[in-house]
């Protein structure tokens, strides 16, 4: 599977439905981590070139028009790309989070952004919160205790799988504006975007 194929899969409705079977942010992260296309993309995004493509795609999605009556159709893919980047190139994840943090009508992406940008992780730990131990950075090895005390949206505890940048360096999101977004119909299940990116595009600003 190529990175482009993985991203097309992540943007399908079927993917959103599968990972949307979650009643907490923690469960959502587990769900995306168990999707084969995400595993593929995680490996491929170990390459900076692919990671930059993921970031460009993320920024492209963030610029699509939003129907304000509903949640952003690409909320799940954007959250997934941010999470993948946070695992591979935290500085790119931060750039992506800064580009998408203020988007309206997002839910999962909003939570991933909040975490990457350190809204919660840089606060002092609460004495009542149980710890989350990350072993080998793998969700399957995450040891969580006292589910009533460990929270995600409202907790200041670190969440599994994140490799957030500790520095508060400013990274300017300057993704290629010439990326194209085209839509194709997917068996009547709604529009699925396919992308082509301009290889001569501007590179993203490096973190300071």
């Amino acid at each position: 599977m190529t990175a482009s194929e993985a991203m097309n899969d992540i943007e399908r409705l079927k993917f959103a439905v599968n990972v949307g079977l979650a009643n907490s942010f923690r469960a959502f992260l587990r769900n995306i981590n168990s999707e084969p296309s995400v595993s593929e993309l995680l490996v491929l995004a170990g390459s900076r070139e692919v990671a930059l493509d993921v970031l460009k795609r993320l920024v492209s999605l963030s610029r699509l028009r939003v129907d304000f009556r509903y949640l952003n159709r690409f909320d799940v893919p954007m959250a997934t790309y941010l999470w993948v980047l946070s695992r591979t190139f935290p500085e790119l994840a931060r750039a992506g989070a800064e580009a998408t943090a203020d988007l309206p009508r997002t839910w999962w992406a909003d939570q991933v952004c909040g975490y990457i940008l350190g809204d919660w992780s840089q606060k002092p730990a609460a004495s009542t919160s149980a710890g989350v131990t990350i072993m080998s950075g793998d969700l399957t090895n995450v040891n969580t205790t006292n589910v009533a005390a460990t929270t995600s949206r409202f907790s200041i505890e670190p969440l599994p799988g994140f490799e957030t940048s500790k520095e508060s360096s400013q990274v300017k999101s300057d993704a290629d504006e010439s990326s194209e977004v085209r839509y194709t119909e997917e068996n009547g299940n709604g529009a699925v975007p396919t992308y082509t990116t301009n290889s001569a595009s501007k590179s993203l600003a490096e973190p300071q």
């Binding site: 439905v17 949307g20 079977l21 009643n23 606060k123 009533a148 929270t151």
Partner: protein
């Protein structure tokens, strides 16, 4: 106690609603935007294939299973808060499935031991084929529909029944 609340979902967040346990502990919550009809339709289609017997009651993504049962479908409450809510609302846990009765809560867990889902018993049927009881529950499946289904008939990502809770008072 709930962890310290920062930012979204807190009492100061205009997108949350006033919501407390019986002992007046604030329950963090957040009103989630509705998913588009195409997403909700896709979910209905997928679950119909895998869970043929489950009956869809309603399809909305503005609340989850905890919000369904403890906030009257008004808002989203993370499942991480569920056990605290049950305890502070005066529920007591039990393990014997034979003692389940209408109105009791079923808490689901994943293999990692995290609370993933909650359902409410709506009906106990006699199962003449096996000479036992069939437990029918109503629950909200993640972001998607609210289903009437058998106790074990949930998508695997919502976990398996782990404990039962009741607030029944005997006189």
């Amino acid at each position: 106690m709930f962890p310290i609340i920062i930012g979204e979902g807190s009492e100061r967040d205009p997108r949350s609603i006033p919501l407390s346990t019986r002992d007046s502990t604030y329950i963090p919550n957040y009103r989630r935007p509705e998913d588009s009809p195409e997403v909700l339709r896709e979910a209905v289609k997928m679950f119909k294939t895998d869970h043929e017997a489950a009956k869809l009651r309603s399809s909305s993504s503005t609340y989850n299973c905890v919000g369904h049962l403890f906030a009257a479908r008004r808002t989203w409450v993370e499942s991480d808060h569920l056990l605290t809510i049950l305890e502070r609302d005066g529920y007591s846990p039990f393990q014997d499935v034979q003692k389940l009765w209408v109105g009791d809560m079923v808490v689901y867990e994943n293999p990692q031991g995290e609370t993933t889902h909650v359902a409410q018993v709506t009906e106990i049927q006699l199962d003449v084929e096996v000479g036992g009881r069939k437990v029918i529950v109503l629950s909200k499946w993640g972001v998607y529909g609210e289903y009437l289904h058998e106790l074990l008939d949930v998508p695997s990502r919502l976990g398996k029944p782990k404990a039962f809770w009741t607030e029944r008072h005997e006189v």
